[in-house]
Symmetry: C2
Subunit: 329 residues, 2 copies
């Protein structure tokens, strides 16, 4: 690790470039200036190792080149890959990322919003659970997975389509008695449509299906009881299970193993999210894959769009199916 | 989502509090002022919903209450839980987190450092791979897992002790021919000591051991060949394997299964990191657990310590052993 000497000033840059101080200031503040002057100033700044004080620059240009990212957490594999993609997309556009984690707590979410507004960020990308967040209407905001109002763009995977896809896959793989299992927040959100899409496709194919929908506070135990109660002479009533996410799919697979059932031999399971082992390895179960990279790009595009007169209120991106050992194919 | 009306100004706060404008300014800039005045200003600011412009405040107080976090990525389960803990610790101290991901690329790492210095952060916590980063010596910097110089504190798990622990565990579980497998960066770092500790403990117990140390660019294939080459009549020469991290441990387990070997029946495996399924579930293998919460707390404590005259150059935190299905216990 090297250490730097005394920092050069804007005056040093002006001297080195052979231009007036005002010209240097214009270049650093991204104000109009002749192309040749801009090049000379940039060359001089680079040569001297001059660092633009973008703090002061933010005050002048009324832009901070900083975006706030508000997520419940980044330990889960879906949130961490989403955060990773958002950081990469923003960084490629030379934006900084201010990261706030809220543990889905409404107070923490509102505190974050206040805090980043104080810090004059250029916009917020949030995956939040508070139904009535107070946000400065002047500040660009893009919501992930949660619809607030027509004026706040919401970006999500095509959750409904993903639920349909899971049902059609299970039926095509020979399942006769499909089951949908759900656990999640009590606050309505786009992922709720996964079950709706599944139900819709089953109905369309004239296939009877069952479901058990729980909230996070219920825990996983009711699933275990439900499965045990529907086991008759070593056979489960259901032969195809769509789980609302991959984490539940993996837990259900373990529960079925405890009941002596083989996956995918006796029961086939499809999850949702597209989680891979250690982020880059195999899929941890057969799954409906969320297009994380495209979600991130869409959020950033909407957030930084110059013309804000015609923003969409909901953008859904296409999902895909991936085999991960819990279905026959 | 609610929308706000016109923002109140410092003048409005002064009027509401019945104090001079200068008093309001002092309170917001954390300069000395009578306690009763401070209370009146804070009450008025809260009542009006006044938001301190901490951008301008940062310029005056020379503090930004922002810490830059530089990591290679946050998709891997270890990095994502480390980032999560660091965010939580910093947020509890009312610091904001500026997150930069570098993909271990030296140029990206140096660019990040320049960028956050421009942004006047109060300090940097970095897990980087560039041996000769240029960092402003005035800016507090804490390095994770990589030792730079006596003046830059480095925080890491007790990697050497963890390697010893793994060896002693395998020997206590009856292993006679231990093996160490490593894959990682070519840049020296604290995690290299895992193998050193393992070797040291084996030697101390008078037990012969083998090892295969690879770099990331080698890929996993050489491990597969090595294991196949040391398989004789359906038995592996080695009965206990210490892998440098949990990801490798899980991959080695799958390779052994392909060779028809049972884990932990024929071969026992211990990894390193303490990765849990979906962040909060079971350990994905028997493992040496890194104390991620304590690592984060220690980094933040060192970074924000007021008296910087006597900082340690290396702080190692204790690891622990956890059973995760790849050892007999």
């Amino acid at each position: 690790m090297k250490q730097q000497g005394g920092a050069p000033t804007m005056k040093d840059v002006a001297r080195e470039a052979g231009v007036a101080l005002g010209t240097v200031s214009k270049v650093f503040n991204e104000l109009p200036v002749g192309e040749e002057y801009r090049r000379r100033v940039e060359r001089a700044a680079q040569k001297l190792g001059y660092q633009v004080n973008s703090y002061a620059r933010g005050l002048k240009a009324r832009r901070t080149f900083t975006v706030a990212l508000i997520l419940p957490s980044i330990t889960g594999p879906f949130f961490s890959s989403l955060a990773q993609e958002l950081c990469q997309v923003l960084s490629a556009k030379r934006y900084r990322v201010l990261l706030s984690l809220t543990a889905s707590d409404p107070e923490a979410e509102q505190r974050c919003i206040q805090m980043v507004q104080q810090n004059k960020v250029d916009g917020i990308i949030g995956l939040t659970y508070t139904p009535d967040l107070t946000v400065d209407p002047q500040l660009p905001y893009v919501s992930i997975d949660r619809y607030f109002s027509p004026s706040v763009p919401c970006v999500a995977s095509d959750n409904f389509g993903g639920g349909q896809l899971a049902a059609e896959k299970l039926l095509a793989l020979g399942c006769k008695r499909p089951l949908f299992l759900r656990i999640g927040s009590g606050i309505p959100g786009e992922p709720d449509k996964r079950g709706d899409g599944f139900a819709s496709a089953c109905r369309q194919h004239g296939v009877e299906f069952a479901e058990l929908r729980l909230r996070d506070e219920d825990g996983y135990e009711p699933f275990r009881r439900f499965l045990a109660n529907h086991l008759h002479e070593g056979r489960l009533e259901y032969d195809g299970i769509f789980c609302v996410n991959d984490e539940l799919a993996c837990k259900v697979r373990a529960m079925l193993a405890e009941l002596g059932l083989r996956v995918p031999g006796d029961v086939q399971i499809i999850g949702f999210d597209g989680i891979r082992r250690f982020a880059t390895g195999e899929y941890c179960c057969s799954t409906v894959v969320q297009p994380v990279g495209r979600l991130a790009e869409t959020c950033v595009d909407l957030l930084l769009r110059e013309d804000r007169s015609n923003l969409p209120s909901l953008v859904c991106l296409p999902v895909s199916y991936a085999v991960g050992g819990t279905t026959r194919e």
